[in-house]
């Protein structure tokens, strides 16, 4: 090297910003059915290519094709469709409730419903999810009472979290749903530890970690992979790449790697990328990784490729940082529409039945909501006792906290 040119800092930018035309031409979508399906005990080194492609089952014609297809009966697929519709209807109600001032805050999963709904379907009772705030689909699919979810969002007297947690931070051991943390990525490591515990005890349960594209940049994402790789933990590590982390496009977290799945390769971990808006593909890939973990072959990293169709949260307005119509340009479509089209094509479903089901689910939600609101919402009706504020800091309340409770007069 002779005299070097001045350096300059490279700062990645998304394809387009507000006012520009959405452009996904750089986003390569392989044909449905094109990616091979290895055995679950395959050596990770032999499937590096799967980290750079996208496993897809549903093609544009609404057919399920290729080696990852044909895993679910029509009944099962229909149940999946209903679950996704429930999640969407639930989100819509609560989003409106927040706008009406009935709670402080809400986060929806619009456009990403297939991922949590299909994954939960592939789990067994006893398995444990370590979710983020955008996996309400896990809870709804596992049959957690929707009215209790609403009670929590309203922080009312029946709030299962006793008014302590933010609206969407659910918890249910019984439903294999670990208490959501407000802190990103911490739960990814805990999932690995939980899985290690299952192995230490000689059980057959597996854990699932969940993280967003943005949060993969957190150090705990890597801590999790280090431990999972070293101890062959029976865990499935899910990255939900919905393209955005609040206002930040996924390129800031991903850097120069072409995909998030490829992060797993340096840990000798099978790393797969799946069409996250394709219920059948998500189910098949999840099942593959879950079976692999349960049969002692260790961890798998899955990147679910999707798009955050809504705002980050009720505190966010995405029109400030991305084109409003980006969602319509998104090449992987809508998960509900795609599964619906598949079922209709197969003759197992129809536009009419769909419209009926939608109406029925929505009226159910209204019913639940009435039930919850009859108890209370954040600022009206009956709330949890103030005493609850002082409980469960420890198993037994120590003397200094008892004194404080006294001071508070409760």
């Amino acid at each position: 090297m002779s005299k070097a040119k001045p350096l300059s800092l490279y700062v990645p930018e998304p394809q387009c910003r507000p006012g520009e035309t959405p452009d996904f031409s750089g986003f390569i979508v392989p044909k449905a059915g094109a990616v091979r399906r290895p055995d679950i005990d395959v050596a990770p080194a032999e499937i590096h290519d799967l980290a750079y492609s996208i496993i897809r089952v549903l093609n544009r014609e609404g057919e399920a094709v290729g080696p990852w297809a044909e895993q679910l009966s029509d009944e099962e697929a229909l149940e999946g469709l209903r679950n996704m519709m429930k999640v969407r209807a639930y989100d819509a109600r609560l989003l409106m409730a927040q706008r009406q001032g009935k709670t402080s805050f809400y986060m929806q999963s619009l456009g990403e419903e297939a991922i949590a709904c299909a994954f939960q379907k592939a789990l067994k009772p006893g398995d444990m999810n370590f979710p983020t705030y955008r996996q309400q689909g896990l809870l709804i699919t596992s049959g957690y009472p929707i009215v209790d979810m609403m009670n929590q969002v309203y922080s009312n007297a029946r709030d299962p979290m006793a008014g302590r947690q933010l609206p969407v931070m659910y918890s249910s051991k019984k439903h294999g749903f670990f208490t959501i943390s407000g802190n990103l990525a911490t739960q990814f490591v805990q999932a690995v530890g939980w899985a290690m515990a299952s192995a230490i005890k000689g059980d057959t349960k597996i854990a699932a970690g969940w993280i967003g594209d943005g949060a993969t940049a957190e150090s705990d994402f890597y801590a999790a992979m280090v431990f999972a790789s070293t101890y062959h933990a029976p865990v499935v590590l899910n990255v939900v790449n919905n393209q955005w982390a609040i206002s930040t496009f996924q390129g800031i977290a991903r850097g120069d790697a072409p995909t998030f799945a490829s992060r797993g390769l340096g840990f000798g971990m099978p790393s797969l990328r799946v069409d996250g808006n394709d219920y059948l593909a998500v189910y098949a890939v999840s099942k593959w990784a879950i079976d692999r973990a349960r049969s002692g072959h260790g961890p798998t990293l899955i990147e679910h490729v999707t798009y955050r169709a809504g705002a980050h949260s009720t505190s966010d307005d995405p029109s400030a940082y991305r084109p409003k119509d980006e969602v319509t340009a998104w090449p992987l479509g809508d998960p509900v529409e795609r599964l619906k089209a598949y079922l209709i094509k197969k003759g197992a479903w129809s536009e009419e039945r769909h419209a009926q089901a939608k109406a029925q689910i929505e009226s159910e939600m209204v019913q639940f909501q009435k039930e919850a609101e009859a108890i209370g919402t954040l600022h009206s009706g009956s709330g949890p006792s103030v005493r609850e504020m002082f409980e469960d800091v420890y198993k037994e309340t120590p003397i200094h906290l008892k004194r404080q409770r006294q001071e508070a007069g409760v």
Partner: protein
Amino acid sequence: MARMTMIEALRDGLDVAMSRDENVVVYGEDVGYFGGVFRVTQGLQKKYGKQRCFDSPINESGIVGTAIGMAVYGLRPCVEIQFADYVYPAYDQIVSEAARIRYRSNGDFTVPLTIRMPSGGGIFGGQTHSQSPEAVFAHVCGLKTVMPSNPYDAKGLLIASIEDDDPVIFLEPKRLYNGPFDGHHERPVTPWKKHELGEVPEGHYSIPLGQAAVRREGADVTVLAYGTMVFVALAAAEETGIDAEVIDLRTILPLDLETIENSVKKTGRCVIVHEATRTCGFGAELMSVVQESCFYRLEAPIIRVTGWDTPYPHAHEWAYFPGPGRVGEALKKVMESA
């Protein structure tokens, strides 16, 4: 002179610092194009370019760690942690590195770094958007810790922090971003443009770190407060009619010992208010300092009014928040004693 919100004042402070010194760079999560979730950095990327104001990956240790490297290089990074509740992944870089590099290298390397973060509750943010972690920084030698209570101070202290040659933790009481909130959450919000401390001079000025401000002179009792609690304390004084001297610390570390000691020696009584959990909070240090230097002048036990030793709850935000009612009770109690 313009009246500004605290957000505008902070933005103006960054703008002044960046325009005067091209070594000042600003980054953090959502800080670049969008201008931060509280919009403090809005417009800076456009004005100063992507190389001086940019989005970072979501990795607090990485944000602070890279900023330390930049500061060592000779820049003056001012980074944002999106909420103070999320600073803990960076705690090692702050405590083991930023705070000690000057000392361990015998002055060979230094870290002129400012770490901004919104703190405190009052916005129904629940346990992960409400914390006040000043105590875990105040315990660490080598750090300075600052918390402004109004737009004027916010700008002046931020500029001083950026110009300081040591690492500064800059805590922004987010409940004060838009107005001087006194804890009466049931009343309409007063905006900064109706408050004289919303007056923010144009251009460069700075408020020296380590100097408290007496917000209200009084003869009966000294109230030590900072951030949101300053207005709560003022409200409590008005409402109880007790002639309290309300001191706004502004800088938590180094502490303005003189102002504190002089005041307590005068009043003989002291109430300490903070929003953080009580045990081993910064109130304990304040109580110790007062006890150590004013013991013979104290006419009543010093009282702490603080957040309870529980996580910040969502539904019971106002039962948790040390409001003017609780502070008023403490004022009455400290006046009754002895």
